[in-house]
Point group: C4
Chain length 192, copies 4
């Protein structure tokens, strides 16, 4: 029961975050294809952030699937994650509106690191409450590689943004693709 | 359990998409009936898109009703569908604000084709996971005619928009009405 | 299962409708009490519409509580109700922004009549599917008086708006209060 | 069943309230760190209100966890709470946009008092329906100290805002921290 409501609230917040980002795609006044052109970088960042938020939702879904008990700590670790995710529309909009300038790209990278840390805190809080749960441990271990690579990638994207923001963009896409590739190991754990 | 959460997240995203479209109906400054007049095309496109999104929700509801297992593939095919649907408010607003000019109508048609393809991908991904499910197969077959007609209609609406956008509008209404007519066959399958 | 999802989607849409209305309370530039004054009529209409939408949610909740089967007709009658409710934020904002001018008050009344009709259609569609359900019949009969009074009141509010919109305002408040008074009869039916 | 839907609707409304606040973080035109600076007070108030709304959600979650029956009174007491919470984004935005001027801080404090009263009314309405429920009584008593301290703190923050709004800010943070500290007693009650 309690887990259901935690999931429902998280689903609600994530659904709103992922959808309000599209409001940054302001409707142009004109109707020629030239009027659409300035929207292209906004559309690209929207797509990137949509995929990122979706990855968080999928991982959140997997993580809570193996959870059995909800403590106050888990609730607050979850709220902490939602807080950082709720800033993604702002960082996305700023980056898209300004054609990938160094500072917005840096802020986006930093936010992604903070979201990653918040997710790790949630994982650890859950792990503390489920010490003897081998299924949960196996699932977390199967994810830990991707998590570490992501954090390293985001941190690397920050200095690269000051050389050329295209490098940072490539890193962001690489992280998204890495998470999109289905993980046989973690899926197997759940199906067991 | 896992299916419940996929449905809940989809319901949340679709509920937001269908509702934020109404924000394009900007409140006029004046209070005469003349102030309402420029809102009429926006209201009409809002109504059209509301019906379209509702049709997707109803079909999504029917489709997931017969689903038994959720794979990573189904989750991502579902997220892909939600992504394209999330662009409907933008395309709707652009078309409504500009009194059905050719380019916005084309973009709307293209988006509808992409939503249709995304829905078909979701159907196929589900079909792969439920190979021996005759109920699901029967349901999909009962829907496939309408799906093909819709795609053909949307593609036809694109060149017609450059002759007269009224033709495209008629096609959009025809597709909506076609889906609104209850399908005895698919309802029967579910009630069995 | 199917009823759960219909309720979840309706809850999502109604939750968004009731909440986005508050976005019309635009944050003033200044910080004196004079800056708050123009917000008072907007706040009052927000409160009125919040109560109305809440009444619809409560009645929808009661109505679906006694429903056993969901047909395609019920789904579409429900979507039809949600469509008209989704226009309430617009009508509310227009009425509040313009200090209760005749035309916005008329549009608000007309919308309320349309919402009432949509609710009645939903009731009747449910009744057709539950012919032998005496509990449902008793519940609907216990509500029908209030429903008829509301419709008459809204229709009366339209000509009165052209005499003095205060009369219409009083009628709106009267309808809200009438629904807020708990109905012993219908509550008893549910608890049986 | 009925409790589930009350929770789902509340979750939806609270999820939207907590998320639309972030829309006040308007995307700056420039890309220098100077452009971010005016957003700092808005970000701080956003964080504060996010924590407050989250606390309400957590408490609402705990409170309804021990509830067994839903009456019309509980539904309306809950809607009343949601109404006052729905005004938090407005009060937050006004306070953040104006660098903590006395009047916005006062309005924020008054709103917090009203939210606190609405929560107390909800608690009392639930208590009336669950007279013999010792678990519920124990839970409410464990919370009552924090509730009283919060109300006193908010009321104190009002005159202090006219001396220096920093005092009010410190009080707001103190209340948030107090609720964030896990309450062993109330957690124990639930786990029993």
């Amino acid at each position: 029961m309690r887990k259901t409501r935690l999931e429902a609230f998280s689903d609600g917040v994530i659904a709103i975050i992922i959808t309000i980002m599209v409001l940054e795609l302001k409707i142009p006044e004109g109707t020629s294809s030239d009027d659409l052109q300035p929207l292209i970088p906004i559309f690209l960042t929207y797509t990137l952030s949509f995929v990122y938020i979706a990855i968080y939702w999928v991982n959140h879904h997997h993580l809570l699937h193996v959870v059995k008990r909800i403590s106050a700590g888990i609730m607050w670790a979850n709220i902490n994650l939602l807080f950082w995710l709720s800033l993604v529309p702002f960082a996305t909009g700023w980056m898209g509106k300004n054609h990938f300038e160094p500072l917005p790209v840096t802020i986006y990278s930093v936010l992604m690191v903070l979201c990653g840390i918040a997710y790790t805190i949630l994982q650890q809080t859950i792990a503390v409450c489920h010490k003897d749960d081998t299924e949960l441990k196996a699932f977390m271990q199967s994810q830990s590689h991707k998590g570490i690579i992501s954090l390293v990638a985001y941190v690397t994207a920050i200095p690269l943004a000051y050389i050329n923001t295209i490098f940072s963009g490539v890193i962001f896409i690489f992280v998204a693709v890495m998470w999109l590739i289905p993980d046989k190991k973690s899926e197997q754990i759940e199906n067991d």
